[in-house]
């Protein structure tokens, strides 16, 4: 097995994930943000209430998600006929029309990824309330981060609106409850993202390997190289 030495102490350096520059993070005030001094990317944020606030928002978002996925998004009336669709109904119709792969992509980005992200984050947030959380929670956090990239609620919202306006030329359309729920979800997602502190979550998860005792730090001259 590989042996790792760890850098310990209060002045723990971090490496910028976009340019690899080593730097020591300052003590951030609540609500503060640290940026890389070389490339300018955000290195760390410190939201005011990093566990309870995202937890509340995630629970709210999960409730709205259920409405968004079950209530009709929009309806259409023409010559005495009425049709309506849900999110998954849209993907299903694509499947029926011979676009199976597109249907899978749509279902994944519109339903699976947002729901997966919220559920995984819910479990992680609940688990880290009493640190240290078991190390499998870290695995869930990793999957949550992956799901987040593919959750496209805000893009879907714009897509629904463009579709509505396009069809409005042909027939009478009305927005459904599902569409308003998607709109709320679209607002809740950035609120969750800005209130979660991934570094804080990781610091509350038990290490995969037994954590070493902080030894004498030989990396003292690291940043003054």
């Amino acid at each position: 097995m590989t042996e790792h030495r760890h850098l310990s102490g209060e002045l723990m350096p971090v490496a910028c994930h976009e340019c690899d520059l080593l730097q020591v993070l300052p003590d951030l005030p609540a609500g503060g943000k640290a940026s890389c001094s070389r490339c300018g990317c955000t290195l760390a944020t410190r939201p005011v209430d990093p566990i309870e606030r995202p937890l509340a928002l995630v629970i709210a978002a999960l409730l709205v998600l259920v409405v968004a996925n079950t209530a009709p998004l929009m309806g259409l009336s023409a010559v005495g006929r009425h049709a309506s669709t849900t999110i998954i109904g849209g993907a299903y119709q694509m499947w029926l029309q011979g676009q199976e792969l597109t249907a899978v992509i749509v279902a994944f980005c519109a339903v699976v990824a947002p729901a997966g992200y919220l559920l995984l984050l819910l479990i992680v947030l609940l688990a880290v309330r009493r640190p240290p959380a078991p190390s499998w929670v870290g695995g869930l956090l990793r999957w949550a981060e992956r799901a987040r990239t593919w959750a496209m609620t805000e893009v879907m919202m714009l897509g629904i609106m463009v579709a509505l306006i396009k069809i409005a030329d042909l027939a009478k359309v009305e927005a459904g409850i599902g569409m308003f729920a998607v709109g709320v979800l679209m607002l809740l997602f950035p609120a969750i993202l800005s209130s979660v502190d991934t570094d804080e979550l990781w610091s509350r998860v038990a290490w995969h390997e037994p954590q070493p005792q902080p030894g004498p730090a030989p990396e003292r001259g690291l940043t003054s190289e």
Binding site: M1, T2, E3, H6, Y92, V106, R142, I165, W202, W207
Partner: protein
């Protein structure tokens, strides 16, 4: 060595891509796994340039049928009309909602093309070890990462249009083969953005990296 900014790779440290923990692996060649989260450690994303090129080329190939093939077919009383993505933009423009036409034009035509050009430019400058404008190139990369998802817009528009307009025999809308290619462009470029390692942009501006470039230089001097 003096003057060159301290980077993790030069200090023989590794930053975990998953949890951000900085650790010092026993061996630089086989860094093993992150002690905190158990992810595989790599100083730079493995095969970053080759993989990103492969994905960019695949996406560029898909971009052609995505724009040439119809994305929607509208059947009205027996006759079918096909629309490409540009056709959809023109339809929105002529039907009076030019702001929407502009949004769809930007999200569906310009963003995918811009992403391909931007990723190609980043790859070429990294391969030529360019040192100029590293900050701007990092910003360009960040933009590519940020706007990538918005290209999925047209796929959603087509999906919901198809789902709603099913009024047989009066009028019905079917997806065309272009939708799949278009979705493929978006997915491939999103994966390409995640396989590209922005730290490569900066590696050239620092002193030669200890792990990668020394053996290469030795090889070339021998040959």
């Amino acid at each position: 060595m003096t003057g060159a900014p301290p980077t993790a790779i030069k200090a023989r440290l590794l930053s975990c891509e998953t949890c951000g923990l900085l650790s010092q692996p026993a061996s630089a060649d086989e860094p093993g796994y992150c002690p905190r989260c158990g992810s595989e450690l790599e100083s730079r994303r493995h095969g970053s340039i080759e993989r990103t090129w492969a994905l960019v080329i695949a996406a560029a190939i898909c971009y052609v049928p995505a724009n040439m093939l119809p994305v929607l077919g509208t059947t009205t009383l027996g006759s079918t009309e096909y629309d490409t993505i540009m056709g959809g933009v023109v339809f929105l423009f002529t039907s009076g909602s030019w702001p929407l036409a502009l949004i769809v034009l930007i999200a569906s035509v310009m963003v995918p093309l811009g992403k391909l050009v931007a990723l190609g430019y980043l790859l070429i400058t990294v391969q030529r070890a360019s040192v100029r404008g590293s900050r701007e190139r990092t910003r360009l990369y960040r933009m590519v990462e940020f706007v990538g998802r918005w290209s999925m817009l047209d796929v959603f528009v087509d999906t919901f249009t198809v789902a709603l307009v099913q009024l047989d025999p009066l009028m019905s809308v079917h997806p065309g083969a272009g939708v799949l290619f278009f979705a493929a462009v978006v997915v491939l470029t999103m994966i390409a953005a995640s396989t590209f390692d922005p730290r490569l942009i900066w590696d050239a501006s620092a002193e030669p990296a200890p792990y990668h470039e020394k053996p290469l230089q030795q090889e070339s001097s021998l040959g």
